[in-house]
């Protein structure tokens, strides 16, 4: 996985590139906007991490130009500006995600991975969590080597929970993702599906937690 990190603060760039390399990414650092633009347009990066306050060419301009040339390349913006207007400007310029400095590195890593997952054409590879492997291409879920049989609604539910792992999936979001599916005539309540899915995830090391009044959340059993 090859990333471009455009950051003019040498200390931050140094720490971030080291941490990202440790996390398994191949990282190229650009210290100004002009270099960042040149590299992003000339080389094949899987993702760009851009600071907005770059020298020579500012981050927003780089973002717009790269977005024009590479519409599908995921772009993550790091910035010291977090006003509503700044956020809107960043997203309008084509940023896929927005992270305000200072941040925790695990947060950045999680966001980068989520962005890569989300923007990968064709649904992405097999997602592994705990003992569960979730193959979106083959539409196959397994715990260890045991295949887990899932109904279409259960599949969509687990897909959603996995995509937003450790975060709350609201009942509205579940109902929304089910709205396209008409295969099950008498679907029953969300609670019934959660109950069934919990049983099927037994032994996977994953747990679906109920969050009072809000929805559900998938996390590793501890």
């Amino acid at each position: 996985m090859k990333l471009l990190l455009a950051e003019d603060d040498a200390i931050l760039a140094d720490a971030l590139s080291a941490s990202l390399r440790k996390a398994g990414f191949e990282v190229e650092v650009a210290a100004n906007g002009a270099v960042a633009e040149y590299l992003l347009l000339r080389q094949n990066f899987d993702l760009g991490v851009l600071d907005l306050g770059l020298p020579l060419v500012d981050g927003l301009t780089v973002l717009k130009r790269v977005r024009a040339a590479r519409p599908t390349m995921p772009m993550m913006v790091l910035t010291a500006l977090d006003g509503l207007d700044d956020r809107v400007a960043g997203l309008n310029a084509g940023a896929d995600d927005y992270l305000t400095k200072p941040f925790d590195f695990p947060e950045l890593e999680a966001r980068i991975r989520a962005l890569l997952r989300r923007t990968r054409i064709g649904g992405g590879p097999v997602q592994q969590m705990g003992r569960l492997s979730f193959d979106r291409d083959a539409r196959r879920a397994a715990i260890g080597s045991d295949v887990v049989e899932l109904s279409p609604r259960e599949w969509m539910l687990l897909d959603r929970l996995l995509a937003q792992r450790d975060k709350v999936v609201t009942k509205d979001q579940i109902a929304e993702s089910w709205a396209v599916d008409r295969s099950e005539s008498n679907p029953g309540s969300i609670e019934v599906y959660i109950h069934r899915l919990r049983r099927k995830l037994d032994g996977s090391g994953l747990a679906i937690r109920t969050v009072r009044g809000l929805g559900y959340l998938l996390e590793s059993e501890t």
């Binding site: 603060d9 200390i11 931050l12 140094d14 720490a15 971030l16 080291a18 941490s19 440790k22 600071d51 306050g53 790091l78 010291a80 500006l81 977090d82 006003g83 509503l84 305000t100 400095k101 200072p102 941040f103 925790d104 590195f105 450790d166 975060k167 709350v168 609201t170 009942k171 937690r209 969050v211 009072r212 009044g213 809000l214 929805g215 959340l217 996390e219």
Partner: protein, 482 residues
Amino acid sequence: MLSPFKRALRRVPGLTPGTRSLHRHLLLWLLLPQLVLWLAAAFVTYNVAERHANKAIDASLTTATRALARQVKPIGNGLFIDFPRAAQDIIEADPDDRVYYMVSTPPGQFILGNKQLPAPPPIANPKLGEPYFYDGTMGERAKPISVRVAALYLSYGEEGRPQRMLVQIARSRASREQLAGQILIDTALPLSALMVLMSMIVWAGIRAGLAPLSRMRALVEDRAPNDLAPIELEAAPQEVRALAKAINSLLAEVQESVSSQKRFISDAAHQLRTPLAGLKSQTELALNETSDPALKTRLQRVNESATRSAHLVNQLLTLARAEPESATEQGRARFDLRKLAAEVSAEMVPRARSAGIDLGFDGDDDASAVTVMGHAFLLREALINLIDNALRYAGRGSVVTVRVAPKDAQAIVEVEDNGPGLAEADRERVLQRFVRATHEGNGCGLGLAIVKEIVGRHAGAVMLEATQPRGLRAVIRLPRAA
């Protein structure tokens, strides 16, 4: 610049309003001349009335004198006076308006009448047959009667040996003064009524004239201390408009200075973020790379400190944004507070879980919307801060519940925990900036101040209550939008 003349005028006491009410000042300056005029008019009227009364009395005295003189007929060397008793009685009849008479042949020979009549002023060579008038007193010394006297010199006797006769008739001045007084009253009464009416009109005029000033005062008085928007006066007279304009330009300057200061704080806070991010990232990296437990502890502290600084910077920026100068009425919209609170709660769940706290939302899935009008992004910050506070201080294993409900014309948000709670004395205090009730945790003392600021901007209120058996409930009340 003031001319020396104007400056001199200013020093005259009472000429300028000074600290007196403008109403009173104007009233004084309009009514004082009126009073002077009224007094002058009364004085002049009285004098004119008295003169006319004198004239009338003098005329009647003349007639009476001549009539009396006619009754005195010279016979040879003597005088024959044909003055019947009845006529005397009639003349002296009215006790209120006494008429006294005296006939004499000067020097000093009394013939007839009342001897007490005051003598005429000495005249060297008085004209004969022309009445003279003068004022005098007569009667007992204890009770003198003021009288008007007509004196008529006549001659009688034979050719070559003329003799003079003096006929005097006096009339008490009482009637004359009464007449003048009556005339004065008759003139002064309508004049006074006119003056009262005039004063009322002047008062009404002053009030109406100064009304724009009162309106302006109300406009200035009613505003919040941090509201620096220009004063808008419709249909105000030129002078008041000029004053409003002057105030407005001052307000604009203050606004400019305030916002440039705010900009500086905001810029400074933003500038701090990148180095803080560098510090944090380096520390995290170092923490990852070392296996020395002592070093790890130290680095952990550095990291905590960096995190705390970052939090402070963020809170400062949020506070700056929450202040009214930074955001205008623009961006206000109607939105569902329940939905916003549910969203925020959901976002905070991962943090709650890692802190070992059960964060939940109390509400039916299909409860109706609780609509409010305002800046959603600011109220979001307020909610984040309230929940963040509960997560920070309620402690591991506690339960935090967020609740939104409409109540009458209000929308009520509650964030309740069953943590250690807060002493009553602290509940009001912690809403102030940089006031913390505890030294535990990484808080910076701005969270609740931010909540208060934001809620205040939405015409709402925030308060902290104790819950039973233990815990704290933060309550936000906001006006509901129709």
